[in-house]
Amino acid sequence: MIDYHALAPELILAGTVMAVLVVDMLPVRKYWTAVIGLVGLFATIVPILTLGFCESLDFCASSGVREMFGGSYVIDTFSLVLKGLFIGSAFVAVLLSVGYLESDRFWQGEFYFLMLASVLGALVMASSRDLVTMFVGLELVTGPTFLMAGWRKGEARSNEAALKFFIIGVLSAAVLLFGMSLVYGVTGELTFTGIRAGSVGVLDGDLSGLFIIGVLFTILGFAFKVSAVPFHFWTPDTYEGAPTPVTAYLSVVSKTAGFVGLLAICYLAFGEVTTLWGTGLWVLAALSMTVGNLIALRQSNVVRLLGYSSIAQGGFILVPFGAAIAADVTGADLEEAFFATVTYLVIYAFMNLGAFGVVIAVGNRLRSGEIKDWAGLFSYAPGLATMLGLFFFSLAGIPPLAGWFAKLVMFRSVLASGSGWAGALAVIAAVNSVIAFYYYSKVVISAFMEKVPDGVPVAEIREGRTAPSLQFALLLTTLGVVVIGVYPPLVSGLAEAAKTFATGF
């Protein structure tokens, strides 16, 4: 039997996707598609909330974990929190897109259709507990983004971004599938629980070679999604070339989806073979942080800088797991890792979307993403400059902006395991957070402390108006970054709920 309440978020979103397509065909102003999309996203939140607070609601049939389709599709607090995160991020991403698309007269209807479809994929990924569903969800997330990356059709950079993204995307999908096929072959199961049961002792068996290749190819597929070093090469080019709202979407929603898939598959499916990938995650985390940060030091373009920054941030997100698994942690301490990751993902969504929001707003006016062109921003656009400072320093993890809490719980979970390997990773992370500050501050220095370069039409820019939707998005994210920073329980409560995922591991 199908639990429609549990499926309501996906169903409503699917309905919205259809509605957007339909509205696009109607003879109305195109921004109605965005409005429908926003309303739909908003509506999607409702069942997520009712599911989340099921216990205190009268009409709610059953509480606790809901399993469907033979355990392939699960609604638990973890998936609900992440679904909420996806919806929220998508909501902001849509807001970011509206003004951008309108100003450049892009095709609007299809854009929202694609974006919402991609979000639907993310929702599916959060709940999927077998390889097929996971794969389909992943492809649903990724496929539309290929097109979105190339949305500025006339521009070569955008085309290039799309093609690169596409080729690497399908290639990694193929690798992922090959890995999944081998895993299936060795264990004979597609569900995560089945795979886990089937993988007991397999490393000592004859098929260990196949299994290792399978597991690693699978993880590789996700490493591409989260652009972990050394699987990150597409990221800066794609981020720079794609329309900025798409970049924002990629760096938050799509990336978070990748992390969700990685977590689910690693923990639920490959839980018996942690030795196989634990060290790998440690290395990925360390490399991503370090390489991402070091390269970001050299960037002169804000978007590209944020691209490398998001690689580094991805490294920070991987740290809790890298450390926990390298330290062979289980049980309650692993909850810390989940807690940290979920917290980080939520806060990261706020600050990264906000940062891109500012980049869009400023880019709209200045027509440049070069850091040196942003000099003196504070003198003619103090509000935007201040927000720029807030988001960038939040990314750097400076209290009292939300980022500090993300970093704190990240360090906390690392040290919870208490091993030497974890400590080493913590030290690497600490040094990296100092390096990161340097390049974030580079943008801030330019905006606040340097003179306006000649030829910038200051008066004109001062007159310029930021689209209301963008203003709204910035308001949301600014509030989020500041309020969460001052009162982190807003996020930590969610993450608390989500960490039960680790129980029983």
Binding site: V136, I167, V175, F178, G188
Partner: protein, 101 residues
């Protein structure tokens, strides 16, 4: 049934696909090479499914999904390639270096 041969076939196809992806300059050929890799995956799935006598035929179902998704990807890919071709009269992937250092 001799599983080993199917695995080798799958691996060989996959490797051919990889080779193609790495060496072809034309984006359409790259795309076709990826399809070759997906074909390898399908062979694997079906072979494993049959070998294990999977009661729910998971491998076969998966391969159906792979075919469907692969078709969608080709659609997307060709659209992008067409776009690029229209803009610069070439579909060679090695000319994509606008954003290099």
């Amino acid at each position: 049934m001799i599983l080993g041969q199917f695995i080798i076939l799958g691996a060989a196809l996959f490797s051919l696909g990889v080779y193609g992806v790495l060496t072809r300059r034309n984006a359409v050929l790259v795309l076709l090479s990826v399809e070759l890799m997906l074909a390898a995956v399908n062979i694997n799935f079906v072979a494993f499914d049959t070998y294990a006598r999977d009661a729910v035929a998971g491998g076969q179902i998966f391969s159906l999904f792979v075919i469907a998704v692969g078709a969608a990807e080709v659609g997307i890919g060709l659209a992008i390639i067409l776009l690029i071709f229209r803009n610069r009269q070439s579909a060679n992937v090695d000319e994509l270096d606008l954003m290099k250092l």
